[in-house]
């Protein structure tokens, strides 16, 4: 499964969920598949997608979906411990694992070697951790993730889609997201 296919499967399921998407190609792919005000596209601060998602899930009643990468979560493993100990029910953390740093030239990450992300998440204390490698399993896992904190490690190919850069300014990304959150409260 290509990552853009996996992103499309989730994007097709989205209603009012808030999405935090990792920087680089994942954000570009989500932008090209389904741009919406409820998408927060990261542009920098690699490693912080899951943290932003945690802060968001603890601050709103809306469901929060984080689209994270293997290289990025490896930068911030402590985040798994923080997430586990707060266990917000409204958080689904999807880690697209392509075993590489796909936006910087495809250098292998340690998940290409000995490291097991699902075991790390479980060891951090997250109770519901799923590993999927097909579109159907991803869709099923996502649909079942809405009632409790869930991590879905999604195995994807190394390929980046040929998609344009995000054509919205950082401030516009933020402002329309904030407006979408406000609307969802009232």
């Amino acid at each position: 499964m290509k990552r853009i296919e996996a992103i499309k499967i989730i994007a097709d399921e989205l209603e009012k969920e808030l999405v935090v998407c990792n920087l680089g190609f994942p954000s570009r792919e989500l932008y090209s598949v389904r741009d919406r005000p409820e998408n927060f596209y990261m542009l920098g601060s690699m490693g912080l997608a899951s943290s932003i998602g945690l802060g968001l899930s603890l601050s709103t009643a809306k469901h929060v979906v984080v689209m994270e990468g293997d290289g990025s979560i490896l930068m911030n493993l402590g985040s798994l411990a923080t997430i586990a100990n707060h266990s917000p029910k409204n958080l689904t953390l999807i880690i697209f694992d392509n075993e590489s740093y796909g936006s910087t030239g495809g250098q292998p990450s340690y998940t290409a070697g000995k490291t097991d992300l699902a075991a790390l998440a479980t060891g951090a204390g997250i109770e519901r951790v799923l590993v999927v490698d097909s579109p159907q399993k991803l869709r099923e896992a996502y649909r079942k993730s809405k009632k409790e904190l869930t991590v879905i490690v999604t195995k994807v190919e190394k390929e980046n889609a040929d998609v344009p850069v995000i054509g919205i300014s950082p401030e516009d990304i933020k402002n329309r997201f904030l407006n979408a959150v406000k609307k969802s409260i009232t």
Partner: protein, 170 residues
């Protein structure tokens, strides 16, 4: 207790969400944050992680603070620049400013000296009350910058200011 004064300033600021990494200087403040339901307190494993959690809270409608030692400012610089500055996501950073007068740990001194310059370098306004009486003014100024420029702002709390704090262990 000086920590109570600082806690009340956080409430006056409008802070309703705080992330923190432990600091001796803020021992009493952190326990106030744990006890008080007005501020949701999330302790994190590393300061940069706290910048991310606080940014998420802001996007969710909260007014966040990050409570750290200056030693942890170093590992937060990129996030403060490429997340908060880029998107104009404000954040109140309460910094235990180690490395100044009264410091006994040599490892605190280089970051202590560098902290104001590091904040200047990435355009984060910072305020350092030199007496207990100056604490409210520092927070008022920080609040003005927070809302006017939608930027991270820092209030630096020096050891000298906390020297009359009860139960101190530093």
């Amino acid at each position: 207790m000086i920590s109570e004064i600082i806690f009340n300033e956080l409430i006056c600021f409008g802070v309703d969400f705080a992330t923190s990494v432990p600091s001796n200087l803020f021992k009493n403040l952190l326990s106030l944050l744990d006890k008080n339901p007005e501020i949701l307190h999330v302790s994190v494993t590393r300061e940069e992680e706290g910048v991310g959690v606080a940014a998420g809270a802001y996007l969710g409608g909260k007014t966040p603070a990050l409570v750290i030692q200056n030693s942890g400012l170093g590992n937060s610089i990129n996030a403060l620049a490429s997340l908060n500055k880029v998107f104009k996501i404000p954040l109140l950073i309460l910094v235990a400013q180690r490395g100044g007068k009264g410091e006994t740990i040599p490892a605190q001194i280089p970051m202590g000296e560098a902290t104001p310059r590091l904040l200047d370098a990435i355009g984060i306004p910072h305020y350092t009350p030199k007496s207990v009486e100056q604490i409210p003014k520092a927070f008022q100024r920080a609040k003005k910058s927070f809302y006017t420029y939608e930027t991270p702002v820092a209030v630096l709390i020096e050891m000298e200011l906390m020297k009359n704090e009860k139960n101190r262990s530093y």
